[in-house]
């Protein structure tokens, strides 16, 4: 067992995520421009800025409450496909964490698995459909091993979307022309797990 993380950790993760999304918004929009409608960067900027603002103003007491609040905020501010999907991911993960004041990595991985399953159910997508799930599913699986493994798995998952043909979301309209481009949602998922690993490392070995 590594150490356990409190609400503050998750707030710091999401603040770091907001900064990362802001920094990489141009890249995300560029990717979405190639096979979507050029708004993924702006969508997540708007959403994570609102999340950071909310958490700074009213920081919830438990990890679960942080994730539920963040998920709700994403749903209320992002719109598009990614809003409900990321919102559901965090909300359902948070719910799975219950009232616990501290959660360990493995418990987090289990909760994330619930959140990812909810994303898959909501959007009807599976691994291989060229969506965020291509990064999320392997990342959550690898989180059972370590934060670093989750980060790497997410990055590899995002890269692995390049040769795929999209079957869900806006990119699916492109049919074969979607091949050869990296999925924007998988890319932002990799970003989130990179920041999660970064936050965990900054606060001691996991």
């Amino acid at each position: 067992m590594g150490e356990a993380f409190d609400a503050g950790f998750f707030v710091r993760w999401l603040e770091a995520a907001a900064l990362a999304v802001d920094r990489e918004a141009g890249l995300l929009t560029e990717l979405d421009s190639a096979i979507g409608d050029a708004d993924h960067g702006a969508n997540l900027q708007r959403g994570f800025a609102a999340v950071a603002e909310l958490l700074a103003k009213e920081p919830p007491a438990t990890p679960g409450a942080v994730l539920v609040a963040a998920g709700r905020q994403l749903i209320s501010t992002v719109g598009g496909a990614s809003g409900p999907l990321y919102g559901t991911l965090l909300r359902r993960t948070g719910k799975a964490l219950g009232e616990d004041e501290h959660v360990g990595r493995e418990r987090l991985a289990e909760a994330f698995a619930v959140g990812v399953a909810a994303v898959s159910q909501l959007g009807g997508a599976q691994v291989g459909d060229k969506t965020m799930l291509d990064a999320l599913v392997p990342a959550v699986e690898a989180l059972r091993v370590s934060f670093g493994a989750a980060r790497t798995a997410a990055e590899e998952g995002a890269l692995a979307t390049v040769p795929l043909q999209a079957r869900k979301g806006r990119a699916s309209y492109l049919g074969e022309r979607s091949i050869g481009h990296q999925d924007p949602g998988a890319t932002s998922s990799a970003l989130l797990f990179a920041e999660l690993a970064g936050t965990a490392r900054a606060e001691g070995p996991a």
Binding site: S33, D37, A38, R46, G79, G80, P84, R167
Partner: protein, 330 residues
Amino acid sequence: MRMLINVPETVVADALRGMAAAHPELTVDVERGIVARRDAPVAGKVALVSGGGSGHEPLHGGFVGPGMLSAACPGAIFTSPVPDQMVRAAAAVDSGAGVLFVVKNYTGDVLNFEMAAELAEDEGIQVAKVLVDDDVAVTDSLYTAGRRGTGGTLFVEKIAGAAAEAGAPLQRVEAIARRVNSRCRSFGVALSACTTPAKGSPTFELPAGELELGVGIHGEPGRERRGMMTSREIADYAVDAVVEDLRPSGPVLALINGMGGTPLLELYGFNAEVQRVLTERGIPVARTLVGNYVTSLDMAGCSVTLCEVDEELLRLWDAPVRTPALRWGR
């Protein structure tokens, strides 16, 4: 950037402020992103609520008014609105007779409206939904996101809106909306790409003298790209694509829609060619609408939507409507 804006961040809010000033007959909540009939809720009447990303004006805000939508929820540009908007809008216009959500089939719109429906039902509002998916340019399959909703939305909102105005109950309004959607098919063509304020450059590269056949209203690519075609050739291609899929056996309503950047003069000329093809195919046209109704910012191009109608649907189409963008009857 050739745009008449302040900054990209305030484009939608600025437009809503401008709508509020121009249309005292509407209630515009700029903060929350809701455009509603001032007289809503109308006692005993089923309410229609639609919405979607901005950038397709007059859709949907321009279709709010007696005989059509009760409220519209504009999202950010090309981004579906958030559930809070639809829930608030539904609560504001529901008379107790229930609310029909008209949803264009895009993953974002579908997910956000689905969440909104659940939340609204939690608040005791009876909600039905109709999905508009009329774009034949997209290959449909169980394993994909399905067809996009485009010009057919106008027919669904107008005709279901007329049924609601006439006092039909929710189930009936929903059934009519579904019937209209099932009889609508569209095909769009881009002569240029649109430019979103946030991106500031065209969303895709389309060299002058080429066109994108089967384009979506967010600049999603279509079936194929070709060298320039005449209005006549485009009409042949687009109408054939629609007709092959719809196979109408009766009269149709025709929408010759501009994408925002094509002059009305050209749209009318294009209509002449569309009517020619329809005559050649032996398809009678009951009514024709020409103009910019379901746009894609400044995109040059057009789309053709046909909606097969029976007597009831035609009567509902002809029923009075009083909105910023669509008005007729008394």
